[in-house]
Symmetry: C4
Subunit: 232 residues, 4 copies
């Protein structure tokens, strides 16, 4: 079942080592079939060079395995929460990419400091609050999803316009229309984190780009007035 | 038409991923035929591994497509302004190379801190002022060119001697006699940004090299008294 | 003798250049056969691309060569002390990996700042005190082992739960059930050092992760209640 | 003539790109035949991937070309001064390797902060004073050699024990028994600069290793009591 989606999720997982986003098995990609209400995700702890397309695990919105011989990623419950709360997204990525983790461990948002950021993220990439003891002890992975959603709600951020987050003291999650686009956004987030780290060291004052410049760059690539690229 | 220039521009574009100057499609190279008054530039948003020489787009000084089936780079109007204002240059490069962007986002010039810099850039590599709301909203890419030219005029910098600039909160543009030399200068700018970032962290006092040392290094490689290399 | 262990130690040594943990010959891996009371270790100063499995040197707990035509690693006496004091470990790695050395030279622990750390190290990775003049002058390599053991004893750290250490002004040692796992922990230590360095530069306040989060991550991968991966 | 030395110098030059020490042609290696009083050096400005062994240029102690069709490296006069003043050295390397340049531009010595440093350099790697206007304007490259020698004389440093230097606002020179060993020391200097930069950012207080530890590490690899490696 879902052979095509499994192949897409498998291929997107292979992009993680290709783009140097992961060490060992520290990452996972999923995709969703909204009509069937089913999620395809990487199995837990399997090395990327041993991964095959048909090892991808199919789970439903209750986290039950619908197809597959392996345990799904230990982060599956987080993915499910995000798919439930963010109805437009088609793929999710989690990594421990080092520059993004550096901000997550520092408990800091990645501010929108320049046009590279503005081309993909329409505002700061937020960090969640620290999770509470009881959230960590019971249903930790599900609660990780909840604290992400809380962050977007409280700060009134549109997840379609800011397709990524830093979980405090943990690492980034990104998403997109498809598993491949979620990986694309994960690459951008890592690159932006690296550049903005250095900008902050050089000159922490006035690190924010102007709202006009952010509007320009985000909107020339997204939405009805976009004019970047070759059209669609 | 302009088959030879298209090939040069195409080859120069391929150098961007080779020298790790770009991620995805975040960069473009153009070249100019001064006699014909025509510019050849990379098409917008096309992946580098799918690029072919005959996809290069030919535009005139009004930005009109003279030949080509694809949209030219969204930065084309910036290139045109620079070719108009800087009559000696033959090629232009724009990238989001990470060390250069780090300075651009910080809104800081890259000071001439050592001989690597002085071998190619005869003084600080300037950052432009932030662009104004109306410059961003109307004719943004053309205004990006204007603010670069303003920077060189106001500071009385010779663009033939300082073949690069940082656009504030955006990234670097470099240029040269040819598309390939413009890429060469882009590599140097990125390398110099990396080294001078670290020097600034170690010892921000007295970061400037002496004028004598700058004169020596720039002039032993450029101009009538140059003695570096094998002659020409 | 010990052909299988020699092959494991040899293969684990080859992982050091593969994971970019070493320059030249600055590193070594050993393994132990607890029943025989014999240790297999890399020969001293041999280039990794010239290394062969049967060059591995077999030594006993007194550091005497039991088999082998080459001198064992100059750090052999350190390995022996660790095998004696930490009875559960099966392999040891020493490198001069650059991020770990950066902390060692600074004389600082690597604090548990995030989940990547917590997945492998159940608390800060300690740095030893500086060694004293007489410890350096007589039996230096053995004393290096002693100061590591002293560090774990004084701070009451369980070496099975924190499988690595920084020797002050020197570099990291890591260990594990097997030579390969010791290398795995060396990769993690290096990656964690890099990320936490950057987090400290961004925000040195409150760098520690919460104890609850550390418990959760360490214990979901280790011990009887582990649920990460595919089981064993 | 000097076919064997040319091959050694050629091979040592090829190590520079292999160890990522250079960008473009920013580096050169030379070797000396002390009996003949002749120096073999890379030609100026030739790309490394076009270099051949028989392009190596032979010069005498007056800088005159004894054999070769190309101009020697523009830094030849610096090499000659060093060969004259340091009678035991057999090869010299100059690069613009980025971490070493970062210290050179900051005008700072690289302190002996740990054992990696102490294994090769018996004390701080010194930076020269800034060169004076007249030294820069007349016989610049020869004066570059003189200021290096002055640094070693004034600080009473033995160039056989500290085989490298940073020229202020410029970059590193290293040397050794042979061209290959000079490259080896250049790799070490770059690696040590990187690690000590980060240690300084973490904890600039008390960055120096103890004299006892420096003695131990330097002397276990060098001199009559060395015991590292397989003997000679």
């Amino acid at each position: 079942m879902l052979t095509e989606l499994k192949e897409k999720v498998y291929q997107a997982n292979l992009l993680l080592p290709e783009y140097n986003l992961i060490t060992f098995t520290w990452g996972n990609v999923s995709g969703i079939d909204r009509e069937e209400g089913l999620i395809v995700i990487k199995p837990s702890g399997v090395e990327y060079d041993e991964l095959t397309s048909d090892q991808m695990v199919v789970v439903n919105f209750d986290g039950e395995i619908v197809e597959g011989n392996l345990n799904p990623s230990s982060d599956t419950a987080t993915h499910i929460e995000l798919y439930k709360a963010f109805p437009d997204i088609g793929g999710i990525v989690h990594t421990h990419s080092p520059w993004a983790v550096s901000f997550a461990q520092a408990g800091l948002d990645i501010p929108a400091a320049g046009t590279t950021h503005g081309d993909y993220f329409y505002g700061s990439i937020p960090v969640t609050r620290e999770m509470k003891k009881d959230e960590i002890q019971v249903d930790y992975e599900k609660q990780t999803g909840s604290v992400i959603i809380e962050t977007f709600n409280k700060k009134d951020i549109n997840p379609n316009q800011v397709p990524g987050v830093l979980v405090n003291d943990h690492g980034p999650f990104t998403w997109g229309d498809s598993p491949a686009e979620a990986v694309h956004n994960s690459v951008v987030l890592e690159q932006v984190a690296e550049m903005t780290y250095h900008s902050l060291q050089l000159n922490a004052e006035n690190i924010q780009m102007s709202q006009s410049l952010l509007d320009k760059h985000y909107l020339r690539k997204h939405g009805k007035d976009a004019y970047y690229g070759q059209g669609k």
